[in-house]
């Protein structure tokens, strides 16, 4: 059997599938794949007990490049699908991944409600400030004056969203930012995020060499947060607002209890059904 039970936990490579990622050379998403598999190997999670749920876009292809259970669903709805899976199967480790357009534009409402629902999910948003798969349109995180898109030749002229700020406002209990130029640092963040018992949001700055070549300079701009992780939302909000979006690390962590629907009870189904149907008898 290919994945026979052995005492040796799988190494990072074994969390990858045999499909060669179809990403442009230099794409940050390769490093996200590496960081995810490293984190899972570090945590020694059995592959069959982890599910990776994604939406649509370049980054959402990541599910197929892992050897986990995966779901490559529809654009923007990965968080909702993951919530249903986790509600029904709290025993699974459920990861969600996608891009900035997937998560903040078409899936923006699901993002807000995933944050406030605070189910035990880990969400990696691969942010390259552009729609790559549709060949370079402005996303919700694109600067207002970025004028390289044929769709908005004068720039979007709309202020970008700050994902961490939105996550904090909406109620996420773990907020972090990593950089694909530092895959080990990103992997460490992901380990913490997966272990966090609630909704963990990780923004991964992931350059797009094809449509945003200027992002290749991010490696010179990214720095670690100077302060320790805060558990105070006011302090975290101040820190996010004061930052230019290029500081990395775990910004905020709260111990607000995670939400899991269902009482977990449920005994004898036949007796339960008989009681339910008995209510309808005259």
């Amino acid at each position: 059997m290919e994945h026979a039970q052995t005492s040796r936990p799988p190494g990072p490579k074994e969390y990858k599938s045999d499909l060669k990622p179809i990403w442009c050379p230099g794409c940050g998403d390769f490093a996200v794949l590496n960081a995810v598999t490293k984190a899972l190997a570090f945590l020694e999670l059995p592959r069959e007990d982890v599910a990776l749920i994604t939406g649509i876009g370049c980054s959402s292809r990541i599910a197929a490049y892992t050897s986990l259970y995966g779901f490559h669903g529809v654009h923007g709805r990965a968080l909702a699908l993951a919530a249903g899976l986790k509600a029904a199967r709290k025993d699974l480790t459920v990861l969600v991944a996608g891009g900035d357009g997937d998560g903040l534009s078409i899936g923006g409402n699901h993002f807000i409600h995933a944050c406030r629902r605070n189910m035990d999910l880990t969400y990696v948003m691969m942010d390259n400030e552009v729609y790559g798969m549709t060949k370079g349109q402005a996303s919700p995180t694109t600067a207002a004056d970025w004028s390289q898109s044929k769709l908005t030749p004068q720039g979007s002229r709309i202020r970008p969203l700050r994902p961490a700020s939105l996550a904090l406002t909406a109620g996420a209990t773990f907020i972090a930012r990593g950089f694909t130029g530092d895959p080990n640092g990103l992997a460490k963040i992901l380990v913490e995020a997966i272990q966090h018992p609630g909704f963990a949001f990780v923004q991964a700055l992931s350059p797009c060499p094809t449509f945003r070549p200027e992002q290749m300079e991010w490696k010179h701009q990214v720095r670690g947060f100077e302060q320790e992780t805060s558990s105070d939302p006011m302090e975290a909000a101040r820190r996010i607002r004061a930052d230019d979006g290029m500081s990395t690390g775990i910004i905020y962590r709260s111990d607000y209890p995670a939400f899991q629907p269902g009482s977990g009870a449920g005994g004898d189904v036949a007796a339960g059904m008989a009681a339910i149907e008995g209510e309808l008898r005259i």
């Binding site: 059997m1 994945h3 259970y69 899976l85 509600a87 629907p261 009870a265 189904v269």
Partner: protein
């Protein structure tokens, strides 16, 4: 055979929203149930919670009834607030009776013009000096006297229902009831009229008190549903509310979604996890779910959606019934997306159809859209305990630990083993992208063709057995219908048969995949077909034209909601057809 409708009385209780017309109607139906009767109660109201209009439409009979009668024997008006909004739905005959509060203002001209006898009873005034007494309880007393209901029985029901509201409310309600029950004007009027005769043997089996939404809930649970996602929408919310505590009772759960885009994806996620899952909605919500349903078809994830239809398009007539989401259920998805569409025919049938929908979706790893409507969903019936038998249906085919697992393997039946997360060595990625047998994304023509064929084969080659339709009666005339129109058609056919015109009723329960050979057999010997539906666009007729060869002469009785089609209209149309 059912005896003639010797005891079959229809009453309407109307009032402004919040006046308690619905409560009075519900209690009246319960009392009728306690007295061994069968019955039905429809609610008709506007979308407002307060200040609108509400009507409880109650039919009580010694035989099971599944639809409203042609006209009402008695209209009790607590007030005349917005009465014109549902006047159309409460047809009166010249020998009907109206009980109205003379202090509630002018009787609307349309009602005065009917020439119907009106008994003025000042219900509000009678209730006024009773602490915690309400006019609707006076009304319940009046109607209970009219129906010959035992007052002690009513008192016990009032105790039971209002217990939680405290002793003052219980005492006030009982006193108001007694005042209505002994009201001399009604006692006299009752004496002057003949009592209905009771005929036929008394029913001694078990009876249920069931709404269509509850029926769907029971069927869903029997089918194995253990997860539901919910976004509130009239008239589906009460189905979801009914499920919430009961799913937990059975070890399952319900998750409230941020919108219908989320709820259908939550269903898909739970079902991907191996837990049978369902959501319920109505037209606008269903429209939002179509994207997700396409995903479920492509990724072969069992998913069940109950669409409780209301008047459309758009917000339409949200509190009232129509059968006009059929086109969307059949054809709404993008791409070629074979899936199941089923329609429940009556209250008891909601149980059967829901259970069947769940079992079929699970066995065939696809989407089942189950259609009901507001008329069915939010009305209550007192019926004999529902009994049915479903054909044998295999459970979801699951993959065990296996080498070289292929999620979308091209099997002869089209159904391929589905690995549930947690199963070692079978990890795969479910995908809305077209894929090869393994699940690897593919744009190759051969893969697309093979997977389209596979997904169609699952449904086309499956033996659905005898449940595809409910067929009753004989005769050269057939009424061909679906959904809640079936119950009306059956009552019409019974009347026609009593009049010597044997009439067959064929009500399709399984709408997609279509069953052309089975329908052709069911129509053997039929020369005339009346197609019955509640849709302005004749969606069912067009569906029949697309999928079936009907050689008999066809006429239609199609009307939009919210006005229910009555048995009498059908009888008249068939009798005129010569």
């Amino acid at each position: 055979m059912k005896p003639a409708h010797s005891c079959d009385i229809s009453l309407a209780i109307t009032g402004s929203g919040g006046a308690g017309a619905i409560t009075a109607g519900e209690l009246l139906l319960s009392l009728a149930g306690n007295n061994g009767c069968f019955g039905m109660m429809r609610r008709s109201f506007g979308p407002q919670i307060r200040g609108g209009e509400a009507a409880a439409l109650v039919r009580i009979s010694h035989c099971p009834v599944e639809c409203m009668n042609d006209a009402f024997d008695l209209l009790l008006a607590l007030d005349w607030q917005n009465a014109e909004r549902f006047a159309d739905e409460i047809a009166l005959r010249p020998d009907s009776l109206i009980i109205a509060d003379p202090d509630a203002g002018e009787i609307p001209e349309a009602i005065q013009g009917l020439g119907v006898e009106i008994i003025p009873v000042p219900m509000k005034a009678l209730a006024k000096d009773i602490p915690a007494g309400r006019p609707n309880m006076v009304a319940l007393g009046l109607l209970s006297h009219w129906l010959g209901i035992c007052p002690d029985e009513a008192g016990r029901l009032i105790d039971h229902v209002f217990h939680a509201k405290g002793e003052a409310v219980v005492q006030g309600s009982r006193a108001a009831f007694d005042r209505g029950f002994t009201e001399p004007l009604i006692v006299e009027a009752r004496e002057a009229r003949p009592r209905p005769e009771h005929s036929g043997p008394a029913f001694d089996g078990s009876r249920w008190d069931l709404s269509g939404n509850e029926g769907c809930g029971v069927g869903a649970l029997r089918g194995g549903i253990r997860f539901a996602a919910a976004y509130p929408i009239t008239p589906a919310s009460d189905l979801l509310e009914w499920l919430a505590p009961r799913l937990e009772q059975l070890g399952g759960s319900l998750l409230q979604a941020e919108d219908e885009l989320a709820s259908i994806n939550m269903v898909i996620g739970a079902s991907f996890g191996g837990v049978p899952a369902l959501t319920a909605t109505s037209g606008p919500g269903m429209a939002l779910m179509l994207e997700g349903l396409g995903l479920a078809v492509a990724a072969e994830i069992p998913a069940v959606v109950v669409d409780v239809m209301r008047g459309g398009p758009s917000t339409g007539v949200p509190t009232k019934s129509e059968q006009a989401d059929l086109n969307m259920a059949l054809y709404g998805m993008h791409g070629d997306a074979p899936h199941l569409v089923l329609g429940a025919l009556d209250h008891a049938d909601c149980i059967l159809t829901a259970e069947w929908s769940v079992r079929l979706a699970e066995a065939l790893q696809t989407v089942a859209i189950m259609l009901t409507d507001q008329n069915l969903a939010q009305s209550r019936v007192l019926i004999p305990e529902p009994q049915y038998e479903l054909p044998e249906i295999p459970p979801r085919l699951q993959a065990g630990p296996v080498e070289g697992y292929q999620r979308y393997a091209l099997t002869p039946s089209g159904v391929s083993p589905m690995a549930i997360p947690g199963t070692p060595s079978c990890t795969y990625v479910a995908d809305g992208l077209e894929h090869d047998q393994r699940g690897k994304p593919s744009t190759a023509a051969a893969d697309h063709q093979a997977q389209l064929d596979k997904r169609l084969r699952k449904l086309a080659d499956f033996d659905f057995g005898d449940c595809w339709a409910d067929i009753r009666g004989e005769g050269e005339t057939a009424i061909l219908t679906w959904g809640s129109s079936a119950a009306v058609a059956r009552e019409a056919a019974e009347r026609l048969s009593v009049n010597g015109q044997a009439t067959r009723v064929i009500a399709l329960r399984l709408l997609m995949p279509a069953s052309p050979a089975k329908l052709a057999a069911a129509l053997a010997g039929v020369s005339r077909v009346l197609v019955l539906e509640q849709s302005h666009g004749r969606q069912f007729l067009l569906y029949l034209r697309a999928w079936y060869d009907i050689t008999a002469e066809v006429r239609t009785l199609a009307r939009p909601g919210p006005l229910p089609i009555t048995p009498g209209e059908i009888v008249a149309q068939i009798e005129e057809w010569s």
